[in-house]
Amino acid sequence: MSIDPRRLVGIKAERVTDVSSRDFPGYYPDEDNSWNLDAFKENLTVKIYRVSNRSIDFDLVGVDASIANAFRRIMIAEVPTVTIESVYVYNNTSVVVDEVLSQRIGLIPLNVDPAMMEMRVGDEATDRNTLVFTLTLGCTRRKDAPKDSTDPAQLYENHELLSRHLLWEPAGEQEAVFAAKPPGPLNPDIVLAKLRPGQQIEMTLHAIKGVGKDHAKFSPVATASYRLLPHINIKKTIPPHLAEKFQNCFSPGVIRVDPRTKAVSVDEQGVRNDTVSREVLRHPEFEGSVELGRVRDHFLFNIESESAYPPQRLLLEAISVMRDKIANIKRAAEALLDRPADEDVTMG
């Protein structure tokens, strides 16, 4: 696969070259490079590779790093989720103190689709912006426990406070709105505290909609990251007796060695998994025979959802947040058109 050398970031033994994008008008003589939507459409590729119930891998090709980075930043910090924000403790005689337990409860991912709730404005809680849960548990001794047992599960009833113990208290129209999927934790088995006989917990919890920039518990993703597609250019033929050594300089599956001729080649699918470790550049026998790089506008995204959003919906949510942002700024900028001469401006 030959690739336009302008798209490559050079990876040398001790430095990285050509990092910045140069696709601006005036950079290359006799080239336009100004914004052109049709050319962008033509050039853009979005390809989904793998989707699971929790994660998605896709390629975004033909955009600037600033765009890819905006997606990453929005998915981490600005796509809203619903999470427990207020904890009212009536009784807590466990060894986990109130504030630590509250912190742990806030981190429980809930299965509530954020689109079904509103952002709370001010202090007023309504059935459209707040979900109420109760959390009540008391640990007792089991009478029928085996004599010599040391296992808490056999000895005690309710020895662990789990996320499954969250009990939703519907209010107002919520019963009908959330009928299809009653609010609760995404994972029922999160241990919140360990209890011993006589210890009790009684709490009321309020969940609201929020964003990750306010508190990381609102972030809908476990990771949202991208890397650039690695590129390996073999410039000289590798001698057959060095083929295996050459192959071992890269991640498994990146370099193919022909079993008969011992000729080496780059595996086009495998190269995606290369770590670009630069091991090959350490060996004098390979000097000048290979060039490493990464493709500047080819982003390999990996997103893991840790929220009610299915992973394939996260990019769409990020785009919608971004477009709202743009519309908002545009409206404010257009308002300035009417009075461009600000009173601050005093210039002769």
């Binding site: 939507l37 989904i48 119930n53 394939q312 743009i326 908002n328 409206r331 900028a333 600000d342």
Partner: protein, 135 residues
């Protein structure tokens, strides 16, 4: 979006995201202001955008630089404790930087809608590996 909010009544600003209204009920700064020292014809100006960060600053700077009428464009986050960015735009031929800013915002919007369309197309095409991940 927030049509039947009661608490937000007296806070006149509709341009601010609701979560900020929780923190402060005082008058919030305008979303976009032109900073002191701009040329009267706005051929060179610095715009202060409140409640924004690198997320919009960098793509906006990139899109403005794609405009051949823009002589210079740069942005900064002056201080991490101030929730704003500043975008400096200088134009050729005494053209208006405000027009360029609005045009760049429109272009960015069409860029994101293009990505959305392509993504949805590929998602509906269904040509990808599906697998089950244990939690």
């Amino acid at each position: 979006m927030m049509s039947h909010d009661v608490a937000g009544e007296e806070q006149k600003s509709t341009t601010q995201p609701p979560h900020l209204l929780i923190m402060s009920t005082a008058n919030l700064p305008q979303k976009v202001t032109i900073m002191k020292g701009a040329a009267p014809d706005l051929s060179a100006a610095t715009y202060q955008i409140f409640d924004e960060s690198h997320t919009i600053g960098n793509p906006l700077r990139w899109m403005l630089m794609k405009n051949p009428k823009v002589e210079f464009c740069g942005y900064s986050v002056p201080h991490p404790s101030e929730n704003l960015i500043q975008v400096r735009i200088q134009m050729y031929d005494n053209l208006s930087s405000l027009t360029a800013l609005i045009e760049a915002l429109s272009n960015l919007d069409s860029l994101f809608s293009t990505i959305e369309t392509k993504y949805v197309d590929d998602l509906n095409g269904g040509d990808y590996e599906r697998w089950e991940e244990k939690s």
